[in-house]
């Protein structure tokens, strides 16, 4: 962290996460963090919780055994009793180990007996960093399809903090997908103090007229790179969804109605991914406005492969987005 300029500080994406945790833990004694290896000086596999035990004590920074079902379920019980646990699963890939606790118990509780379950799961997701099939996944579609959850996916340090604040304050189970490739490679201005980014509102990351790119997480950076390369010839509007459930359909629809063209991008497997929902919805609601087919860009229908040439072939990037935009605009 460095330079303070009128109420903001330059931080990396992961520093912003830690700052968000610290902000909420200072503000609200009911907020605690729990997960594998998050305590002590160690501070988690990615160090996102480093320093928290020193400041807040072991009671509020709880190292758990490697038992995702038990500790996510326990977080649900704590939430029911009024606490606000923030769970770290070590990698987003391991969220499937606690699946029942999430999609069956926590997701349905308020609908069934009106009891709020105010937890957050922080899930370090995403690939591109040579971590292989089990440390590179983007499993958000499973949760977007499941009724009763909220899902967020910050693309910037400011939102990494802002969405975390909002998620912790939300009275529902929120899954917060972090993008590992952004952790230390993306820096940005982050508001100090407690400025939350509201859940459910997308952001126009860049204005443009010829085509709208709708995306989230690390792919926002890739889309902006693509847009840079295409300007001024083609001006690209980039929408950073920020929240995947509930989707901000209004912002997306307004932009696509303006540009008449859409490219939907995510790093997750393209097949039956969140992008399919967005494209299908636009196709239905904005049929008359579309000047070209909506193009989807995403991961292949393949486990994320380890070896660099394979992972690069699997994973979309600025080049694929550029090609999709060109094709869509040329249509």
């Amino acid at each position: 962290m460095d330079s303070t300029t009128n109420g903001t500080r330059t931080m990396t994406y992961i520093e912003a996460i830690t700052d968000g945790l610290r902000t909420e833990m200072r503000r609200d004694p009911d907020v605690l963090v729990m997960g594998e290896d998050i305590g002590g000086d160690f501070g988690g596999a990615f160090k996102a919780t480093q320093g928290l035990e020193a400041e807040f004590g072991a009671r509020r920074v709880m190292n758990t055994p490697m038992t995702e079902l038990a500790f996510i379920g326990a977080a649900t019980g704590m939430g029911l009793m009024g606490l606000r646990p923030v769970i770290e699963v070590q990698f987003a890939d391991f969220i499937s180990t606690g699946f029942d606790s999430i999609v069956q118990y926590a997701a349905t509780t308020h609908y069934r007996w009106q009891a709020p379950v105010p937890w957050v799961i922080r899930a370090p997701a995403d690939g591109g960093i040579r971590s292989g099939p089990f440390h590179s996944q983007n499993p958000e579609a499973w949760f977007v399809h499941t009724p009763g959850l909220k899902v967020v996916a910050p693309a910037t340090p400011a939102d990494a903090k802002g969405l975390l604040l909002a998620a912790i304050r939300d009275n529902n189970p929120v899954i917060y997908f972090e993008s590992k490739p952004l952790y230390r490679s993306l820096r940005g201005e982050v508001p100090e103090g407690d400025r939350a980014t509201p859940i459910g509102r997308a952001r126009i990351a860049r204005e443009g007229h010829h085509v709208t790119v709708i995306t989230y997480g690390e792919m926002v950076r890739q889309a902006l790179l693509a847009a840079d390369g295409l300007a001024p010839e083609i001006t690209v509007e980039v929408i950073d969804l920020r929240t995947l459930k509930p989707l901000d359909r209004d912002t997306v629809t307004a932009s696509v109605r303006k540009t008449g063209r859409a490219v939907v991008v995510h790093a997750a497997n393209r097949l039956a991914g969140v992008g399919a929902e967005i494209a299908a919805d636009l196709g239905q609601t904005s049929f008359e406005y579309l000047d070209a087919p909506i193009c989807r860009v995403g991961g292949l229908d393949v486990p994320v492969p380890f070896s660099p040439p394979l992972e690069d072939a699997y994973r979309p990037g600025a080049g694929d987005i550029t090609a999709a935009i060109r094709e869509t605009v040329a249509y």
Binding site: L32, R59, T64, P65, T67, L69, A70, F71, I72, G73, A74, A75, T76, G77, M78, G79, L80, M81, G82, L83, D100, S101, Q104, Y105, T108, T109, H110, Y111, R112, W113, Q114, A115, P116, V117, P118, P147, G148, K150, N171, N172
Partner: protein
């Protein structure tokens, strides 16, 4: 073993009788085609659900399961709300959202609702216990699981986490000899389910699940220990599921001799015998209680059947908390 106070024994009897009456009525309703969806049979489980429920203090939290009708009743969930839930009415605990006893939680009664996926209530109840430690509150959380559920991974994960956290947590296994149609020996290679605790460093014991006094006493002791910072306890209560798994199940797979053996030890009748033989109550009293319970249950049925169905326009309401 010292006897329980007389008043308490009389109370235990009342709740068991009410549970039995309501369960019998549920069976009737379904046989008459007045049910909606399915309903779980409670017969045989009354001493466990009532005895454990009564052993808790009002501030304690409990997550009862599908054979714990007695516990819901003891903890203040009214027969009306429960019956209306069974019949899918707007006045039911879940306003028609969830079926039979599923989801019958109410935080104002310190009751946590369950889901079908067994035993997912266990870590949730543990989390409640952990929150009491977090807040330094002298409260305890309890939940029930079946013999079948004691095979499941989340049961073991929860016991392990409870032990390492020394959480004020009590788990009661209702060993009713079967998981649906599957007898114990096809589920596990142990005879004594209390040993499930030993691999996690949790204390445990086995009790007669048809003796409500014994259930009460052992749960009370475990709750007391937990409240005093002594950590979790597992209690195996042995009983027999006297009817099918749920209303549609004729349970032809259960040997008749097994049922005969156990029906001689009906938990409600056993307790009634105790009360009369100790001279605490007479047969007239028992008849009066039975009558009163019938009235309560009849009222609940009438309430439920005359309650509104949920408004389909509200189907999407309440998915999220505000």
């Amino acid at each position: 073993m010292t006897l329980l106070p007389d008043d308490l024994n009389v109370d235990l009897h009342y709740w068991m009788r009410l549970t039995r009456t309501m369960d019998d009525q549920l069976v009737n309703l379904w046989k008459q085609g007045r049910g909606v969806g399915t309903t779980f049979n409670q017969r045989g489980h009354e001493a466990i659900s009532v005895g454990a429920g009564m052993a808790l203090a009002p501030d304690d939290v409990v997550a009862p399961m599908h054979r714990d009708l007695g516990c819901y009743l003891v903890r203040g969930m009214t027969p009306r709300r429960l019956m209306a839930n069974q019949l899918g009415r707007a006045t039911g605990v879940t306003r028609g959202r969830d079926s039979n006893l599923h989801g019958c939680g109410d935080l104002s009664l310190n009751l946590i609702g369950f889901i079908s996926h067994l035993p997912q209530s266990m870590p949730v109840a543990l989390g409640a216990a952990m929150s009491f430690s977090y807040c330094s509150e002298p409260r305890v959380a309890l939940t029930f699981v079946g013999d079948g559920s004691s095979c499941a991974g989340v049961f073991h994960e929860s016991l392990n986490l409870a032990a390492v956290q020394r959480a004020p947590f009590v788990v009661v296994i209702e060993n009713n000899q079967y998981a649906y149609s599957t007898p114990l020996h096809q589920q596990m290679a142990i005879d004594d389910l209390a040993v499930r605790a030993s691999g996690h460093g949790v204390e445990s014991r086995t009790v007669d699940g048809n003796d409500v006094e014994e259930v009460y006493r052992s749960v009370k002791a475990a709750v007391g220990k937990a409240r005093d910072g002594g950590g979790p306890t597992l209690i195996e209560a042995r009983t027999m599921r006297m009817l099918g798994h749920a209303i549609h199940d004729g349970a032809e797979y259960v040997p008749q001799e097994l049922l005969d053996d156990w029906s001689a030890r009906d938990p409600l009748l056993l307790h009634e015998e105790k009360l009369t033989s100790r001279g605490l109550v007479d047969h007239e009293y028992l008849a009066r209680v039975a009558e009163k319970c019938r009235e309560i249950v009849d009222d609940a049925v009438e309430f439920a059947e005359s309650s509104e169905w949920p408004d389909p326009g509200t189907v999407s309401d309440g998915v999220y908390a505000a």
